[in-house]
């Protein structure tokens, strides 16, 4: 700036600062559309919900469905699995927080919080390892399910339990639970 300690601020100084500031704001405003165009577009956002018929899934079986381009694990857990998942003490968990999409309040990752009341045998979770995004194994019969009988990620060895909670390995968080509801006893709507 042209001003020193002795010289008063002139009108020219003001014009310089105002013009530069205006140009900077204009440049930033012009940049925003170029950045925002990379965000998920309307067609991606519109793939918001999907309905799934659960009737054919027998106890002990699991299916994988696609929601928003992501695999979603839907597992019909056996009575034993439900029981053991409910009995896990919270202090044994690596990540004690229930990761439910769309819910900002951080509740404990109890089996009750991760499932729907009256449908405790169903676990619906996004099948993406929270470490680096691989798809854990354990959906098909005969797959390795890891030490905790849930899912096992072959990439870096993370093991999840039957409620999708991380128990061992490098993954930092539990599997995410997508927003879903039971439309009828044998049908859910994800999203």
């Amino acid at each position: 700036m042209a001003t020193t300690m002795d010289e008063p601020v002139t009108r020219r100084d003001f014009i310089h600062i105002a013009a530069t500031a205006f140009a900077a704001i204009g440049a930033a405003a012009a940049l925003w559309p170029l950045i925002d165009q990379m965000n998920p577009d309307s067609s991606a956002l519109s793939l918001a919900s999907v309905e799934i018929d659960l009737a054919p899934v027998q106890e002990g079986q699991a299916i994988t469905v696609v929601w928003q381009g992501k695999p979603v694990f839907v597992r019909n857990r056996t009575a034993d699995e439900v029981k053991s998942a409910q009995q896990v003490p919270m202090n044994e968990l690596k990540d004690p927080i229930a990761r439910i999409l769309g819910v900002t309040a951080e509740g404990p990752a109890t089996d009750e919080a991760l499932t729907k009341k009256g449908h405790e045998n169903w676990l619906v979770a996004i099948g993406i390892c929270t470490h680096l995004g691989c798809i854990p194994k354990g959906q098909r019969t005969g797959d390795e399910r890891g030490e905790y009988n849930g899912w096992f990620c072959p990439c870096h060895g993370s093991a999840y339990d039957t409620a999708g909670r991380i128990r061992k390995g490098p993954a930092p968080r539990n599997l995410e639970i997508p927003p879903y509801e039971f439309v009828s006893d044998s049908k859910i709507k994800i999203g």
Binding site: N39, A44, A171
Partner: protein, 431 residues
């Protein structure tokens, strides 16, 4: 330029041009007449080899783009079509794929050359930093190019690497997720992701070419370092003009390099790749082992050595970032490691560390492999952050030659070397 221009335009056209755009003068000064230390060894030929590699990648890449379709439904097939039906498609694609590996072999040797001979030390810090920037741009370009194949390894490499940014969620909840979805243009790696990777893969090589221009500019201000690390004192005796002395030497080295290139290209075109990448991308099935290309393995080993997700990401990027500070981390007054009896051991330990990390990057991160990976990762950082500053202070360097001429024609004076420089110097004067 550090030296006086000896260019004299001879024809009416070149005189006319010289007073308007002195581009012929510039070419003359940088390629033909540039005074280059006469004691450069073969490690100094990788600059020319790298320029060749960049050119090969750009030319084959432009051709590949004529046949490639950046659409997830046809990308994989368009490459198979190129391989099977397009005339010489197999040759052009294999040249590009093998060329990427060759590019990295050359750049790693070039970087270790710089580290050994202290080519990053004053007054070449900016030259070195531009070099690290080129390396970063190369990493980004190679990664994006590999993803375009849209095989299983491509897809899962993109998934894993873009997911690295989600680790920022542990700093500010939501930040990482937002960032990753912005990179993807969706909620998973999808068509939009492939398109932007293709666009950037086409752009970045030209950014590299621009950086290479700056790299050469920054080289030509102080001039080449040399194996003694001693500054050029008497260009008449100690330097030779770049052409024909180093153009011919570089071309010879390039020929040897081309033989290695051709060997891989024609006999082992898939040796450095991964078989799983000939299986089309399937977003619902992760391959049992995700392994990056060989040139990323040391960094992958560092990523996996740290048990925390964010920590691993920081370590991996830190492994490259630390290179920017090397000119100031090295406290030694001596450039060339040849005269540094203690540091020399540590230098080779660093080379072994990088090779070991490369080996460990391809192994499952369990048991002994994981522990070894952690030890070597620790040394990698110790080398730059502790060894470089400390050894530079405590070490007594060996006596260095007083000048380059001394190291060539000095005490031993073998082969009557004292007379050899005359013709070279004379030819330099003639120009």
């Amino acid at each position: 330029m550090a030296h006086e221009s000896t260019y004299e335009p001879k024809t009416a056209f070149t005189r006319w041009m010289d007073s308007r755009l002195p581009i012929i003068r510039m070419a003359h000064e940088t390629i033909l007449d540039f005074p280059t230390p006469r004691n450069l060894n073969y490690m100094w030929t990788f600059g020319a080899i790298l320029a060749f590699c960049l050119m090969v990648q750009i030319i084959t890449g432009i051709v590949l783009a004529m046949h490639y379709a950046a659409d997830t439904s046809v990308a994989f097939d368009s490459i198979e079509n190129l391989m099977r039906n397009v005339n010489y498609g197999w040759l052009i694609r294999y040249t590009h794929a093998v060329g990427a590996s060759m590019f990295f072999i050359a750049v790693y040797l070039h970087m270790f050359r710089g580290l050994y001979y202290g080519s990053y030390k004053a007054p070449r810090e900016v030259l070195w930093i531009i070099g690290v920037l080129i390396f970063l741009a190369m990493i980004a370009t190679a990664f994006m190019g590999y993803s375009l194949v849209w095989g299983q390894m491509s897809f899962w490499a993109v998934t894993v690497i873009t997911n690295l940014f989600s680790s920022f969620d542990s700093l500010i909840p939501g930040l990482g997720t937002t960032l990753v979805q912005w990179i993807w243009g969706g909620f998973a790696v999808n068509d939009a992701t492939l398109n932007r990777l293709f666009s950037l893969h086409y752009l970045l090589p030209f950014v590299i070419a621009g950086l290479v221009g700056l790299h050469i500019w920054a080289l030509h201000v102080p001039g080449n370092n040399n194996p003694t690390g001693v500054d050029l004192r008497d260009p008449k005796r100690e330097a030779v003009p770049f052409h024909p002395y180093y153009t011919s030497k570089d071309l010879f080295a390039l020929t040897i390099f081309a033989i290695l290139f051709a060997y891989f290209l024609f006999y082992l075109p898939n040796y450095l790749g991964h078989a799983d990448n000939y299986v089309e991308a399937n977003p619902l099935q992760t391959p049992p082992h995700i392994v990056p290309e060989w040139y990323f393995l040391p960094f992958y080993a560092i990523l996996r050595a740290v048990p925390s997700k964010l920590g691993g990401v920081i370590a991996m990027f830190g492994a490259i970032a630390v290179l920017f500070f090397v000119p100031w981390l090295d406290t030694s007054r001596v450039r060339s490691t040849s005269y540094r009896p203690i540091y020399r051991w540590f230098f080779w330990l660093l080379v072994i560390t990088c090779l070991a990390l490369g080996y460990l990057g391809a192994k499952p991160p369990e048991g002994g492999f994981l522990i070894a990976g952690q030890l070597f990762t620790a040394y990698y950082f110790l080398h730059f952050l502790v060894v470089m500053p400390v050894v530079g202070i405590i070490e007594t360097p060996k006596p260095r030659p007083r000048s380059i001429a001394d190291s060539i024609f000095g005490e031993s004076g073998r082969g009557g070397g004292g007379h050899v420089p005359q013709p070279a110097a004379a030819s330099a004067e003639k120009r």
